[in-house]
């Protein structure tokens, strides 16, 4: 039984297709199962389609969304089985062992949930993300408490001096004006109190800032390393969907922003709030009326500042966007500089940058008009607040309600926190930014790897190198890339994958490496499903040579020993010799200790490739994967690499992808793929004899070879120049 959710005009409406032992039914129609009947499955842009045909033509066509695809495929298989059994007159066999209802993968022996499908459920990240930072703050709660107490004490200490002004005014200065001599002892006591309070506040402030900065820096560092470690565990699928710059920014800038927020803004805000509360208490204890008048304008002013800030914030956000526009022009142009120069479009790119910059200026000008008004406005509002206190204070003094000392103390107190109002109003936008940053980081942390390590990993038996691929489907987004691949690779066999680009060769290889997990079906090594072994445990047995060899920043020796950091020098040299890299390495200024840049700029493509072959050789893998290992180099270098590869292939299961079919001559079997399916299997001679897909591909290539294009040579010359810019300058 299959429930489909679209009708023939692709509107959402569900209906049922039922398969019985004798017929297939949908609604009121039914078609008896006959040998001529066939059910075929297609999909395009997220819509799947099942077609029921007989010998004369189409009988019915059903459509559904991609979520139902696994069930539909199962339905299709079930149909074929039933029909064939009908035809042969035998009863249908009962369905096989316990398998996942969704993906048909046989369930691991002692687990009820399919590890493949269970991961689909994840909850969306919550908005209270900043609170989630507590997870990182928790190890430091002792220090945080100490920091809070110190903040409390430090703030209290800063509030002592204005309090001492009161007696200084009322009991010393004003009596002196009225003709009394100055009481030196009292003055000395009050002044030393002032100094003592200042020193005390200084010491406490230092301890508080130091402790909290220490803690926040550690929280930031924990956040960064945790995020990075998590990121490294995510599957290639995740990296494929994200831009590198974005991920760099998340780990670098965002953690730093959160860090600054915690150590500066949050701390300042807490201090300010404490100060206002304490001041309010002191003021009310001295004179409740004057305290009222002093504090009433405060919320009004705070609210006005907040309004202006809010306006400014949208402007700042706009600036951020415009700014990213400017940088994106740069990010576009600089990596593509060869194209720009080749088409002589420097002027156009310069114009594009100038336009972006002009836009940036306009937005900035607009904002600056408001922004420049802001600081003076805050100043004005503060002055008005102080003025109100003056007016009411003088009025109270005139009625002998308070002394001059009290008014002086009040003025000293409020000037302190009016100054802080602006800083406090900033907390809203800063908090929002930090929360956004935290959300972006937790986005990474919440992301569950789509190639998860199983809860109870099975330990791999010693590998012989055989790989069984059973009915593998793979879907990327809503695009079906592999549709039912069945392949049994024998230990030590060399398999060549052939096909047009987009036929799914690289995807198949990625699935074998378990960079991705299959959507349906399964891949097994030594009879163990890949999803039930620990990823790292399995990858140890895989050697990978890619089209674009990646060299890490470090010495050549470190690069070769990347997969086996404890390799001895003799092992490294042996691997390099086998990869035909030894001699050119000796030509480098420091031999194996020569440094190569992030992308190995000082080495040619072929040399880099041979280093990556040595890297694969050193780990002595059972399964070797060559993904277009020779397509980025010229034919002469290819020859050199090819003989290095021959050393590598010996005694290992090898899966090679190559556009140049000549490089796959040594393959035991060639697998020809087309649009996600295997269309031909055989060695070179048999495939040539059948004159099928492979024959056509081969003929097309040999025709190209007969007409050599001069382009290849030119490109190499330019590469030389690009790779050695110092040479052209000197």
């Amino acid at each position: 039984m299959l429930e489909i959710d679209l009708d023939s005009s692709l509107a959402f409406r569900s209906s049922l297709i039922v398969l019985t032992a004798r017929d297939i039914r949908c609604g009121d129609c039914s078609w008896p199962l006959t040998p001529e009947l066939s059910l075929t499955h297609h999909d395009h842009a997220g819509v799947g389609m099942l077609e029921l045909d007989d010998a004369t033509g189409r009988l019915a066509c059903w459509r559904y969304t991609m979520g139902r695809n696994p069930v539909a495929l199962r339905f299709e298989r079930e149909f074929t089985r039933q029909r064939d059994h009908m035809a042969s007159g035998q009863p249908a066999l009962p369905a096989v062992v316990a398998s996942c209802p969704i993906c048909q993968l046989p369930l691991p022996p002692d687990e009820e949930e399919c590890p493949n499908c269970a991961r689909e459920l994840h909850t969306p990240p919550s908005t209270w993300t900043l609170l989630r930072l507590w997870r990182f703050a928790k190890p430091y709660q002792g220090q945080l408490l100490a920091g809070f107490l110190l903040t409390l004490a430090a703030t209290a200490a800063t509030l002592v001096p204005p309090y001492l002004i009161m007696p200084l005014m009322d009991e010393v200065l004003i009596p002196y004006q009225n003709g009394k001599p100055i009481d030196t002892g009292k003055v000395a006591m009050l002044l030393s109190g002032l100094l003592g309070a200042a020193c005390f506040a200084w010491a406490l402030g230092w301890a508080r800032t130091y402790i909290l900065a220490l803690v926040s820096e550690r929280i930031g560092a924990d956040l960064r390393t945790t995020t990075y470690e998590h990121l490294l565990k995510l599957s290639l699928e995740y990296f494929g969907a994200k831009r590198t710059g974005d991920l760099l920014a998340r780990i670098g800038t965002e953690t730093d922003r959160i860090n600054v927020f915690l150590s500066l803004h949050l701390l300042d805000f807490a201090t300010d709030v404490l100060m206002i509360i304490m001041t309010a208490v002191i003021l009310f204890s001295i004179n409740p009326w004057l305290a009222m008048v002093t504090l009433v304008p405060l919320p009004i002013i705070a609210w006005m500042i907040h309004i202006v800030r809010d306006k400014l914030r949208t402007g700042f956000e706009q600036i951020d966007r415009v700014w990213s526009e400017v940088t994106s022009v740069l990010a576009d142009t600089i990596p593509g500089i060869r194209v720009v120069k080749a088409f002589a479009q420097e002027a156009r790119e310069a114009q594009r940058f100038r336009d972006a910059n002009k836009h940036n200026l306009e937005v900035n000008d607009r904002l600056n008009r408001v922004w420049s008004l802001f600081a003076p406005t805050v100043g004005l509002l503060t002055e008005i607040g102080v003025l109100v206190v003056w007016i009411f204070g003088i009025w109270l003094i005139a009625h002998d309600s308070i002394t001059v000392g009290v008014l002086t103390a009040f003025l000293a107190y409020i000037s302190r926190f009016y100054n802080r109002l602006d800083a406090m109003s900033r907390i809203v936008s800063v908090t929002q930014k930090a929360a956004a940053g935290a959300k972006r980081i937790f986005d990474i942390l919440d992301h569950v790897s789509s190639v998860p390590d199983p809860a109870k990993p099975i330990s791999l038996p010693p590998l012989k190198g055989g790989i069984q691929i059973d009915n593998v489907h793979f879907r990327y987004g809503n695009r079906a890339i592999l549709r039912g691949i069945d392949l049994d690779i024998r230990p030590g066999e060399m398999i060549g994958l052939v096909g047009h680009s987009g036929s799914g060769k690289s995807t198949l290889v990625n699935l074998i490496c378990r960079f991705y997990d299959v959507s349906e079906g399964g891949i097994r090594v030594e009879g163990v499903d890949l999803r039930s072994v620990a990823v790292a445990d399995y990858r140890k047995h895989i050697g990978l040579v890619l089209q674009e060899p990646f060299l890490f920043f470090g010495t050549i020796a470190e690069n070769i020993a990347y997969g086996k950091p404890d390799a001895t020098r003799a092992e490294i040299v042996a691997a390099a010799r086998a990869a035909h890299a030894h001699e050119f390495i000796l030509r480098q200024p420091f031999g194996y200790d020569s440094l190569v840049g992030e992308r190995g700029q000082s080495l040619s493509g072929g040399e880099r490739q041979r280093i990556s072959i040595a890297r694969a050789l050193l780990i002595d893998p059972k399964i070797l994967i060559l993904d277009e290992a020779t397509s980025a180099v010229d034919t002469e270098t290819e020859f050199e690499i090819q003989s290095a590869l021959n050393n590598l292939i010996r005694g290992r299961t090898t899966i090679a992808i190559a556009h140049r079919l000549s490089t796959l001559r040594r393959a035991d079997r060639l697998i020809v793929m087309d649009r996600g399916r295997i269309v031909e299997i055989g060695n070179h001679d048999t495939l040539m004899a059948t004159e099928g897909h492979y024959w056509r591909l081969y003929m097309a290539q040999s025709k190209q070879l007969d007409e050599p294009s001069p382009l290849g040579a030119e490109e190499d010359i330019e590469e030389e120049i690009i790779n050695h810019p110092a040479g052209t300058k000197a």
Binding site: T555, H582, E583, L586, P589, F590, G591, Y592, D593
Partner: protein, 164 residues
């Protein structure tokens, strides 16, 4: 082609031009032999290759010390002539703390000046040579070595710190 050569007794000579000549056991003579250290920084005494003038490896020497004289001495002499990696003992002065900066340094080969183009030209060699080792490439491509920066005098260390 670059299969590992089996160790067989060979002999070295110097020709009239002062170049090394390798005489293989079968009597073939290879003129203009160049000895090369495979791990010039991390293990200079092990793994030395004798290369032909065409950069083909002719002989691999596992450890220089195991080689009989006079070949050992001749290779050591030739290596000493070819290698130029002055070891900095003291940084006397720098022209500015912003690059490019001209450094006056005292090396094991005497006092000299070097121009540091950018901070990136100072590379840490902790993996190959220990925690304090640095390699400084000057604008002309000469590599200066600091074996252990913590062993330098305080002034040199203070200067160096500004660039790291």
């Amino acid at each position: 082609m670059s299969r590992r050569p089996i160790f067989r007794p060979f002999s070295l000579e110097r020709n009239a031009f002062g170049r090394l000549v390798l005489v293989a056991p079968d009597g073939t003579r290879h003129e203009n032999i160049i000895p090369v250290r495979a791990f010039a920084l991390s293990a200079p005494e092990t793994g030395i290759a004798l290369m032909s003038a065409e950069s083909k490896e002719l002989q691999w020497i596992e450890r220089l010390a195991d080689l009989p004289e006079p070949a050992q001495g001749m290779i050591a002499e030739e290596l000493a002539k070819r290698e130029f990696t002055p070891v900095i003992r003291r940084i006397i002065a720098v022209s500015s703390f912003a690059t490019p900066s001209t450094w006056t340094v005292d090396t094991d080969r005497g006092q000299t000046t070097l121009i540091l183009k950018s901070e990136e030209d100072i590379r840490r060699l902790q993996e190959t040579m220990g925690p304090g080792a640095l390699m400084i490439a000057d604008s002309q491509g000469i590599h200066f070595l600091i074996r252990d920066r913590t062993a330098l005098d305080l002034l040199s260390q203070r200067i160096l710190k500004r660039f790291l």
